[in-house]
């Protein structure tokens, strides 16, 4: 289901994400730690890729680079047709506002904002489109079955509802790519599967690409493809 209030700028034939030979090296004292070692990955326009690997394997680093939170040490990163490899922190901030959606593992919602305001905050702190943004937030909440919970604070929502609000927020800017970092880690199996089903449905219906970081093999069948990562090396 496409959003009638916004233009879909991503061409389905064009890959949503291109990582070419990407390296990320951290300086730790006197030594270098390679977090991502010449990773190459292409995610199609509406493809869902499960990124699987043990802790410390480089999953989060890869997601952070794909989402413009981190800059690569080497290599090329293109998201929604926009090359961001050499972007400044300020350019990356604008890029994150416009082009990507995030659902994090640790904290996903602002505790003092209602469900609806958590969606609107993306617009309020960014481009401030006003009425169209409010219309889109209401539409997303309705599609996610959260209309009745729009005025509730995160503390008044169940775990599943909070994840749905986070997904709604990730979709607010009509992104080219949504990055899910362990979206089911805090949920029981049944709820985890429900959330993965929702992710699958929402991404496919909107034609949006997604990377789902997980270490739970039970959830990977919701993805179109599985990419394994170990010690910073990607096996797509």
């Amino acid at each position: 289901m496409s959003d009638p209030t916004t233009d879909d700028t991503t061409d389905p034939a064009e890959p949503s994400l291109v990582l070419e030979d990407v390296r990320k090296v951290y300086r730790m004292g006197d030594s270098d730690v390679v977090a991502l070692d010449h990773a190459t990955l292409e995610v199609a326009g509406d493809e869902i890729v499960a990124l699987v690997g043990p802790s410390g394997s480089g999953k989060t680093t890869l997601c952070s680079i794909a989402g413009g939170i981190l800059s690569p040490t080497e290599g090329r990163v293109v998201v929604g047709g926009e090359e961001i490899s050499d972007y400044s922190p300020k350019q990356l901030t604008t890029f994150r506002q416009d082009k990507v959606g995030f659902v994090f593992q640790a904290v996903n919602l602002v505790p003092f904002l209602t469900a609806r305001e958590n969606l609107l905050v993306v617009d309020e702190l960014g481009r401030r489109r006003g009425a169209p943004a409010r219309q889109r937030a209401d539409q997303l909440l309705e599609e996610l079955g959260l209309s009745a919970r729009a005025k509730n604070l995160p503390g008044q929502l169940s775990g599943g509802e909070r994840q749905r609000v986070a997904i709604g927020r990730a979709l607010m800017n009509d992104p080219a790519l949504v990055l899910f970092d362990e979206p089911t880690s805090a949920l029981d199996t049944k709820l985890g599967e429900a959330v993965m089903e929702l992710i699958q449905t929402e991404m496919k219906s909107r034609g949006i690409a997604a990377i789902v970081v997980t270490h739970d093999e039970r959830m990977v069948h919701y993805a179109d493809r599985v990419a394994h990562i170990l010690d910073g090396r990607l096996r797509a």
Partner: protein
């Protein structure tokens, strides 16, 4: 505004407490400012609000009107200075008087001519024209020193009638009456019939044309080493005790100037840490750091403005009361100045929190590490 106002709306108790803390501090600052000004006015108002541009004490008097005695040679030396325009004697003494049926201390200031030690302006009535007429401090009307009231000096029973009122003309925190020099001399004699004519306590001067009060003071001091001439404001400010009172209050105000930003600064630092995860999340989803800092500053301004408004509202009714013999008044200028100072201090104190916000690394959203120190 979106983020700032919604956070404040959802955490009313927390922000209400800091507003209350700021309001209490503002109230204490304003009330102590009023006390300081009231105390100093009651202490030296008679000097500050008398009409002579220059007062000359004897050096031995140590700039204390009551302790200064102008001998005839010194008086002659002073009046002979070419820069002097007009000169007149001032006498001052503290008397016991029956006021409204009770015995009370009153200070009596005698001046030789209007414009040479008389009150600068009257708020009601007229200047004394006949013996036994006085001008009283307006705020002392309810003590039995209103227009038309009569007091009797004890012993002797010399009656003085209030014919005029002026603002802030008390001396040494004592109800003060301004009168003619002759009435002053008569008052001294009435309580001690054996006394000789009292020597004046000071000489009031006006400068000759083209001479400033500072130049006149310098000329008089150069003419006789026993003379201690001071322009009016300096004579008030350098009265023994004034500087010490002012200094003591300044220390208190300095402490407040430290405590207020400390309270607001710590408050905003604590809530910045408490909402670190939310701020990190917002940075990660594309909120520019400057927008988050702006939200913080909006909250600081709202908290400070609300605290100052509430503190002023508490202060206003108390500022028109009287503390013992010290009348208080609403200090508009001080309120405006301190409002600006406190707003600036509040904003400055939040810069520490702003720095923390600017240091948030959006990558922490992926690890949940939040704000780093």
């Amino acid at each position: 505004m979106f983020l700032a106002l919604r956070e404040m709306r959802r955490t009313k108790a927390r922000f209400g407490l800091v507003v209350a803390a700021v309001a209490l501090l503002v109230f204490l600052i304003f009330i102590q400012l009023t006390l300081q000004n009231g105390l100093l006015t009651a202490f030296v108002g008679a000097i500050r609000n008398q009409s002579a541009p220059v007062l000359v004490y004897s050096v031995d008097g140590r700039r204390n009107l009551q302790g200064s005695v102008i001998t005839p040679p010194l008086e002659a030396a002073i009046t002979a200075v070419p820069e002097v325009g007009r000169a007149g004697r001032i006498g001052e003494g503290t008397f016991t008087a029956t006021v409204d049926g009770d015995l009370a201390d009153v200070a009596l200031v005698g001046y030789e001519a209007e414009g040479l030690g008389s009150p600068t302006a009257l708020t009601a009535g007229r200047f004394p024209e006949r013996d036994g007429e006085v001008v009283a401090n307006e705020a002392d009307a309810d003590l039995g020193l209103g227009l038309g009231d009569t007091v009797a000096l004890e012993p002797g029973g010399l009656e003085l009638t209030v014919v005029g009122q002026a603002e802030d003309i008390n001396l040494q925190v004592t109800p003060t009456l301004f009168t003619t020099y002759d009435t002053y001399v008569a008052a001294v004699r009435s309580v001690n019939p054996d006394a000789r004519d009292p020597l004046p306590n000071a000489i009031a001067l006006t400068p000759a044309e083209g001479v400033t009060p500072d130049q006149l003071s310098a000329a008089v001091n150069a003419a006789d080493p026993e003379a201690d001439a001071l322009p009016r404001a300096a004579a008030a400010d350098e009265t023994p005790g004034v500087a010490q009172v002012r200094q003591s209050f300044q220390v208190i105000f300095l402490l407040y100037a430290l405590v207020v930003p400390l309270v607001t600064g710590l408050f905003f630092l604590i809530i910045t840490f408490q909402k670190a995860n939310a701020l990190t999340l917002l940075r990660a989803v594309g909120a520019p750091a400057r927008r988050l800092v702006a939200a913080l500053l909006v909250q600081v301004v709202i908290v400070m403005a609300a605290g100052i408004a509430l503190g002023t509202a508490l202060y206003a009714p108390l500022s028109v009361q009287r503390v013992g013999s010290i009348p208080l008044r609403f200090e508009t200028r001080a309120v405006v100045v301190w409002t600006v100072v406190l707003m600036l201090l509040g904003v400055l104190s939040s810069l520490f929190s702003a720095r923390r916000v600017l240091r948030i690394d959006p990558v922490e959203a992926t690890t949940g590490a939040g704000v780093q120190v």
